[in-house]
Amino acid sequence: MFLKVCLYISLVIFLLALIYKVSTWFRYKVGIGVAEISVSTRFFSAIKGILLILFSPKILTLLKVFVLDVLLQFRILREDFLRWVMHIFIYVGFMLLLLMHALDKYITVAIWKNYYSTVNPFMFLRDLFGAMVIVGVLIAIYRRFILKVPRMFTNAMDIYAILIVAVIMLSGIFLEATKMVAYSDYKRMVDEYSGLSDPEELKSLEAYWVKEFGTISPNLKEPFDEIILAKGKELHESSCAGCHARPQWAFTGYGTAKIIRPIGLGIDRAHLPSVLWYVHILACFVGLAYLPLSKMFHIFASSISLLANGVIGKEKIVPANRATLQAMELDACTHCGTCSLRCSVIMAFEEITNMNIFPSEKIASIKTLASGKELSPQELRHIQEGVYLCSNCYRCTVVCPAGINLQDLWFNVRETLLQKGYPEFLVLSPLSFYRGLMKEETVPKDYEKPLIQAREAIAAQCDLMKKKDKVLPLTHADRTLQGGLNLSAQAKTFSVCFGCQTCTTVCPVVGNYENPQEALGLLPHQIMHAAGLGIRDLAFGSNMLWDCLTCYQCQEQCPQGVHVTDVLYELKNLAVKQVREKTLQSMERK
């Protein structure tokens, strides 16, 4: 009764949570142009997409992906053998326990007519599967806390996942062990199944079980007489062995039983077996009920992601389905950290403290963003910086064991955030090369907006640039500017500039304009001057700085050996640093 009530309650919670989670796949909005697509359009479009694939030759690809990636998990194997062993052990062990042990009344009995949980091979297999899961969990703990795989972060969900599996498994093993030592359990079996009533016979059998199987008896103590044991053995073989294999076969339970033997009587008196039974059962039901809301939901979502991305490939996908797919992919992420391990730009984190640089950590932020929750400007800026700080190398997508198209996700989120209007200075770096290549396909019509915004945010901090025709007093000189240009120890060379203008003459960007000063502001030799004079505004405020190709013509040809290009690089660094700080401060004030 208790079992049934618990089962139904947890099943109902499970189903409600499942419906809720699946509904987010159609409700959450990731990326550009998604706001206009209604939930029902997305739902029916997904159904149509699935049906189209199921009734096409692609079903074969789907089957292949299901076997190789979902069942055998080749994508994990390709990445890391130890991790594959870990995952296969947990997943195969757990699945088999679920099917053969938890659902034995429905599945196992239906297949094997002579099934008894206490006979072999079932008794041995149950422990074997349990041991597999335990080994898997131990590897998981080892990887996270001892091996310390680089850039793998542990959050509350990861700990919960390890804990719930560990509690289910350990309570199961301890339950088995306590039952082995508990006299009352022995007594119950004898009463129910043996059919013996002669006290002498009962004593012999008991002695045999105490000696051979570790039952702790309150009445009998070793050593026993050989004759009694021989009699007990005979009785065991005739009355018990038929439907109870030697407990040694249940090796995890038996091993544990050996350890807890000294307190065997106490265990029985405290009714520990039934306490553990409740723990075991309740842990299973909690695990089931909470599954859709926990990391374990990846069992469904990752499989769907692998299958979907396996058949979609690089083809065009309709916007409604792309939106649904990307919302679903957020659940498919297991926070395994492979993407962060392989990410090309992770060194950036050493200088820019923003967890959103790591792909594995971006997912959580994007989930919050997609749910429509209000985020502060700082939080939005952080996510924006994190998704833009990406060299678009596709490595995360290639290695993701759940097959998530991470690159597309970053790109999509990036564009949405850029349109929100917070200036992002990273757009003024060659990281934008990819954005430029993609503009005809996926970038919205406001393509130029973020680029203009970033330049304007910098120009806004450079007041002197606006006083074009005025005489500037040198009292604006910033003595710290020269000192600030020391990153590569080459930039200080600007002080030997004698104003021959060779840099400006050879500059292909200057050469591109009829009236270069109008388009570019200060020209290279003038910027060298401004740096020399310590006039920050003039050095930072020119378009020339951001229109520099870094082709090094100027530097190569400078007769004075001024590292013109390197100076421009450092000025850009400094400008971004100072302006970023100022815009952040003003945002905080607001």
Binding site: M347, A348, E350, L437, L451, D547, H563, V576, K577
Partner: protein, 316 residues
């Protein structure tokens, strides 16, 4: 056997697979061993505009990874090349910087001492393998093919740091192109920038510069522009295609990767060359390869000349 750590960078695996496959195929035929180091990260080039430290840490980590395996680095990208070279140069020149960088790398058990060399594919071909050795591997050569060689800024300059070739009058790439039988034409804008560094930052300016350069190449009589850098090539290929559709230009100068050109004359498997993967079609170039019959005739002619000479000298 010559062995290098292959530094692919970010752009090639993501957007220019044919450059990787053709380079691997060509280098294999020339007996160069390539070691892949999975832990390699971005060279740091895209972040130099924003944060010098991120750039140098990124580059230095790669150098340290290669040094750990005692391997020199070969790059296919000139921006990666320029960045790695720059980082190597700065760390050799500036001891305190080196210490600071190594202190960060230490966290991963890495360290860069400066014991390895960074080379671009072209300098490996020219200096380590040599023109003569490449000549010996030719299966067939081109006839009447005019190529505009594009050197690429970050390979040539700053010459003090990279030491790739003479920065004012380089000839390394021209020689490598001429091995294939093609003519490397003289063109005024040969050493100018491709425009890629500004693509995505200031597209109009970037297109202006690219178009100017390509028009100059076309006017100078080139059939193809040839690059050995993913940024330059994508700029000349995909971006040129965008320019053609946006501006009133109808004289494309298609771009061929050097390893595609060399691979064709070395008789490398077509699949590896991936000619069809270029955005602006280049398959026409195959028609300029000398046919087997022509080659045989040529050989015969040379042999006849030889015997004539011999008989003449015998007569004397």
């Amino acid at each position: 056997m010559m062995e290098f750590a292959l530094f692919l960078g970010c752009t090639i695996p993501a957007r220019l697979n044919q450059y990787e496959s053709s380079s691997r195929a060509v280098l294999e035929k020339l007996g160069v061993g390539l070691v892949d180091i999975r832990e390699f990260n971005c060279c740091g080039y895209p972040l130099r505009n924003i944060d010098f430290k991120v750039f140098i840490l990124s580059s230095a980590r790669n150098l340290a990874l290669a040094e750990k395996k005692h391997l020199n680095v070969i790059t296919l990208c000139k921006c990666c090349y320029g960045s790695l070279k720059k980082a190597d140069y700065l760390m050799k020149e500036n001891d305190s910087l080196k210490k600071e960088v190594n202190a960060t790398l230490e966290k991963e058990g890495l360290k860069y001492e400066g014991k390895i060399e960074v080379k671009h594919l072209l300098s490996v071909l020219h200096k380590d393998i040599g023109i003569e050795a490449i000549k010996g591997k030719m299966a067939t050569t081109f006839r009447g093919l005019k190529i505009a060689t594009h050197y690429g800024c970050h390979a040539l300059r700053p010459s003090q740091v990279v030491g790739f070739d003479n920065p004012v009058a380089p000839s390394l790439f021209d020689q490598l192109v001429e091995v294939t039988g093609a003519e490397s034409i003289e063109w005024p804008m040969k050493l100018e920038c491709c425009g890629a560094p500004l693509w995505g930052i200031h597209d109009k300016l970037s297109m202006d510069l690219t178009l100017k350069k390509l028009t100059d190449g076309k006017k100078s009589g080139a059939d193809y522009v040839c690059a050995a850098c993913p940024y330059c090539h994508i700029q000349f290929d995909k971006v040129q295609k965008m320019i053609l559709s946006q501006r009133d230009v109808n004289h494309p100068l298609p771009s061929i990767l050097y390893t595609q050109l060399l691979g064709l004359s070395m008789g490398v498997d077509k699949k590896a060359l991936g000619l069809e993967m270029n955005e602006i079609p280049i398959s026409g170039i195959e028609e300029l390869l000398k046919k087997e019959r022509e080659l045989a005739e040529e050989k015969e002619l040379a042999a006849q000349k030889e015997t004539k000479k011999e008989t003449a000298s015998a007569k004397d």
